[in-house]
């Protein structure tokens, strides 16, 4: 068993090691860069453009991209650039909201279920297993479709998406905690007088951070994707310039056939970029949280 022990002070800083790792994990790096750029676009946009232009009857309609309207305008007199910025912002909001809530529920229920076992575990696991086979898409469409159009806001969207998304992170975090729980350092912590909460938050959770991050990104991805396809079907908050809504509206007005190519193109591209970057980060984090690959030293 050849082991190299660094007995002298040869301890590369955590920063150097992280940067070295990023160079190796290309998916993660590219994904993060893309997200950074998209976020920059959204944030700078929100601070500079006039958000009112994202709503109907604000500007001259049906203008192709040019000097005045950078990305063009649509049939209803909305400036596409403003729409993109506001739409991205709202998409991000739904994604992060639903994603964060889903992950938090997953953490709480997953930890409780794994750590306390017994009835608690049986109940939570049972509930997840019953709800999982339910066709998510169908239910989302039914719920969204049966709501009064005026009640549908981005927050209701987030809620609809969250409803059937929390089971997966719960089950997955539960199984991770189950394995962690049996590790010897947990026994030693118990011997050191650490109580249950201390073990959950102090010993187990820190080791699951990459994993939880991956689950979070996965959740955000599903939330964004769900909001997109629901909106494309016309089930979203119609007044808001959600990216899916823009496409739905464009389709409704036969944008391609009428030669307004710019109307659906920008939101579609944006959606591909957003989902793509999230998927890359997810892949990258997947690799990070797999302990076999992670060991770089």
């Amino acid at each position: 068993m050849a082991s190299v022990s660094l007995s002298e002070s040869l301890q590369p800083s955590r920063l150097t090691l992280s940067l070295n790792y990023l160079r190796r994990n290309k998916a993660l790096t590219i994904g993060l860069i893309m997200i950074f750029l998209l976020t920059a676009f959204t944030v700078i946009g929100m601070l500079t453009i006039d958000t009112r232009n994202a709503y109907p009857l604000s500007v001259q309609p049906k203008q192709p991209p040019g000097d005045k309207y950078f990305l063009g305008t649509d049939f209803f007199g909305r400036d596409l650039l403003s729409e993109m910025v506001v739409g991205m912002w709202q998409t991000a909001l739904i994604g992060v909201l639903a994603g964060a809530l889903g992950t938090i529920i997953g953490i709480v229920l997953g930890f409780m279920s794994a750590y306390f076992g017994g009835i608690v575990d049986a109940a939570i696991k049972g509930l997840c297993q019953i709800l999982t086979p339910i066709p998510v898409f169908l239910i989302q469409v039914v719920i969204a479709g049966s709501l009064d159009k005026r009640d549908v806001t981005i927050y209701t969207m987030a809620f609809i998406v969250l409803l059937l998304a929390w089971m997966w992170p719960t089950l997955v975090i539960r199984s991770q905690v189950l394995t962690m729980k049996e590790r010897q350092f947990v026994s030693v912590a118990k011997l050191s007088g650490v109580g249950s909460l201390g073990i959950i938050f102090g010993e187990i959770m820190p080791n699951l951070l990459p994993f939880i991050a991956a689950a979070f990104v996965g959740q955000v991805f599903s939330a964004v994707f769900a909001s997109f396809y629901l909106a494309v079907l016309g089930l979203g908050p119609l007044r808001e310039p959600l990216l899916g809504n823009i496409i739905w509206a464009a389709q409704g007005q036969g944008a391609f056939f009428n030669g307004w190519w710019w109307w659906p193109i920008w939101p579609a591209t944006a959606m591909v970029l957003v989902l793509g970057s999230l998927a890359l980060v997810n892949m990258g984090l997947d690799e990070l949280s797999n302990p076999r690959i992670r060991r770089t030293e």
Binding site: S3, S5, L6, S7, Q11, R183, Q184, F185, S187, V188, A189, K190, L191, S192, G193, V194, E203, P206, N207, R295, E297
Partner: protein, 337 residues
């Protein structure tokens, strides 16, 4: 004189399966007493499946016995609450076998030492915490600067195990359960770790339960020994006597199979009847557990033999010695010096 530790007819049975339950007796009717003011090192010897790890887990309170009681300072450990439970936790500690598994890979090795110091209020300030860590690390032969602030994978196995032992030093427990503390450590380092354990008993009055399958180290470090096989006590008594003059066929087999580092002492002529498969061991519910492998097996061995007391400090659970008086299991500790 009060008793530090009292095991009263402790039995642990594992059952598996929902419909057809198969049960394995991990530990069968073991009784033991350790006195409070007489620190000692007691070896619990056995191979895998002997029940020694189960015994360790029971003593540490991680498992509860199927029957029987475990008393620490007179109180049942599975019924302790609050303050008393914290005291139990502080006074009964362990050193485990795998030097790497005890560390939480997320933290530096300091975490292993600082957590119990803080939880048990063994220090008054941040500086005091550090002082105590330094003191313990130096006592096990490590340079604190070489080790503190490092991550477990940056240190060697020997260093990690020494830190483990340092943790025991810092806590100064009354009872230390050492489960194969040197089996995963290089031969050259074993000596110093065992020496530290011995110093713990000598200078700090810590009683140590040394669990191992390596009788050579047991010979050097302990006064009394219990030999387990499949959950039952095969032989017990004074370490010197039992190892130099084993009376139970299993103990004889064990001693003979030790690879002594001595060219003139080759493996003995004791015949080994191999254990042909995993399943075989679980079959025999009654009778001597060693029956299927014993070269001296007789008809009467189908009934579990009691411990026959061969002398003041040795007893074997074997009908070969049935001319000697039988010793009831509860009085096992009388044999142990």
């Amino acid at each position: 004189m009060a008793d530090l530790l009292n095991l009263r007819s402790v039995t642990k049975v594992y059952s598996r399966g929902l419909i057809s339950r198969t049960s394995t007796v991990a530990l069968n009717d073991v009784s033991l007493t350790l006195k409070e003011n007489e620190p000692t090192i007691l070896t619990v010897a056995g191979e895998s499946g002997s029940g020694k790890t189960t015994l360790a887990m029971l003593l540490l309170g991680f498992l509860s016995p199927s029957s029987g009681q475990i008393l620490y300072k007179g109180k049942d450990i599975n019924r302790l609450k609050g303050e008393e439970r914290m005291t139990f936790r502080r006074e009964v500690q362990a050193v485990f076998q795998d030097p790497f598994a005890v560390f939480n890979p997320f933290y530096t090795v300091d975490h292993l030492l600082s957590v119990p110091i803080r939880r048990f209020h063994l220090a008054r300030s941040r500086a005091d915490v550090r002082d105590r860590m330094v003191e313990a690390l130096t006592a096990v032969g490590l340079h604190p600067d070489d080790v503190l602030g490092r991550f477990p994978h940056q240190l060697s196995g020997g260093q990690r195990q020494r830190i483990n032992v340092a943790r025991a030093l810092v806590l100064k427990p009354r009872l230390l359960v050492a489960d194969e503390p040197v089996s995963m450590v290089d031969a050259s380092l074993r000596a110093s770790i065992l020496e530290t354990l011995r110093a713990l008993k000598q200078d700090h009055g810590v009683s140590i339960l040394y669990i191992t399958h390596d009788l050579t180290t047991a010979y050097h470090i302990s006064r009394s020994i219990i030999v387990l096989y499949r959950g039952s006590v095969m032989e017990a008594g004074d370490t010197d006597t039992v190892i130099t003059n084993p009376q139970h066929p299993y103990t004889r087999l064990l001693i003979d199979s030790i690879p002594w580092p001595d060219v003139d002492r080759r493996w003995g002529q004791t015949e080994i009847k191999a254990q042909e498969s995993e399943a075989e061991g679980a079959g025999h519910a009654s009778g001597c557990k060693f029956y299927s492998r014993c070269p001296f097996a007789m008809e009467k061995c189908r009934v579990t033999p009691p411990l026959f007391r061969l002398s003041e400090r040795q007893a074997a659970s074997c009908y070969l010695h049935d001319t000697h008086p039988a010793l009831p299991a509860e009085r096992l500790s009388e044999l142990l010096p």
